[in-house]
């Protein structure tokens, strides 16, 4: 239970950090970490199938799509 609370706390910090970063690559990586922690929490909440989908799509593919988009546009927020 305490472990889950720690994870939730880290998740909130990462989510706030993702919105504050000026370097968008950092923001995307923070988002991916939020997805990864979400998938761990899904596993603790007895939903392993959702955890699998979250880890593969949220942390893997969505991050790739964001990074491809950033590579094509601008890396730093003005």
């Amino acid at each position: 239970m305490i472990f889950q609370l720690i994870l939730i706390f880290i998740m909130i910090i990462l989510a706030v950090a993702a919105s504050l970063f000026k370097d968008l690559i950092n923001a995307v990586v923070a988002c991916a970490a939020v997805s990864l922690i979400t998938s761990i929490l899904f596993y603790f909440l007895q939903a392993p199938d959702v955890a699998m989908a979250e880890a593969a799509i949220g942390a893997g593919l969505t991050t790739a799509v964001f990074i491809i988009a950033i590579r094509k546009t601008e890396r730093y927020e003005k």
Binding site: P48, M52, A53, A56, I57, G60, L61, A64, I68, K72
Partner: protein, 233 residues
């Protein structure tokens, strides 16, 4: 006048919602539908994984809609990027200076890629026995292909083969649904024998449909990544 009519209609709708919601046993252990699935799911569908029995048997039509939504998204993205690719093509021909990935990434992804594919296939073949299923397995396969794209940026998947596999698996899904209509009178009925629960060859049409969904989702997501990468060169 219009305002009064709209207020009256809103009040009628609100009363209807209140009557409907007052019947729902909030806070009880399990509501009727969930209890029905838990008690009769294994016997009726043959799938040990109750989530799968709901997704592909009781709510199979909904899953067909989900697959269609994903397909439309992939087709729309491909259409948008295809138009822009034509314009861009002339500019890109000269500057083909894609850097090679590092040795660690190349070797590691070469080692991991078959294992990731095997894991994805395991997930969607065992969809009726263990957690997971076609969508999860497909996403894992697509992430394996993404790893290969990162390690070897110049290589592409064969668009014709992947498109063929994708459309074939979609057709298998719809075709099995239509076969259910022919044999049992309902779309997507589980018309094959259920078999013994907890074995690989059980649960009738569920494993077949999940394999089809796994291929479809995997190739669709890979196609999305491929389109985006080709555009972003």
């Amino acid at each position: 006048m219009r305002r009064i009519v709209s207020i009256i209609i809103l009040i009628i709708i609100a009363v209807g919602f209140i009557f409907a919601f007052s019947k729902i046993p909030f806070g009880k252990d399990k509501i009727n539908v969930a209890n029905y699935y838990i008690k009769k799911g294994i016997k009726q569908t043959g799938a040990v994984n109750i989530v799968t029995s709901v997704v592909l048997n009781y709510r199979g039509f909904d899953t067909l809609g989900e697959v269609t939504v994903l397909f439309i998204a992939a087709v729309g993205l491909g259409a948008v990027l295809f138009v822009e690719r034509k314009i861009q093509k002339n500019m890109d021909d000269k500057e083909d200076k894609t850097k090679r990935a590092s040795l660690i990434l190349r070797t590691g992804s070469r080692l991991l890629f078959p294992l990731i594919l095997l894991f994805g296939a395991y997930i969607f073949v065992h969809g009726h026995l263990t957690p997971g299923g076609g969508f999860q397995g497909g996403a894992i396969i697509a992430s394996g292909f993404l790893l290969m794209y990162l390690a070897f940026p110049k290589q592409r998947i064969n668009k014709k083969t992947s498109g063929l596999a994708e459309s074939l698996s979609g057709l298998i899904f719809v075709g099995i649904g239509l076969l259910g209509l022919v044999f049992s009178g309902y779309f997507l009925t589980n018309f094959l024998p259920k078999g013994i629960p907890n074995t690989l060859f059980s649960a009738g049409i569920i494993p077949i449909i999940y394999i089809a969904i796994g291929f479809k989702v995997g190739f669709e997501l890979t196609g999305i990544i491929d389109d985006l990468l080709e555009r972003s060169r």
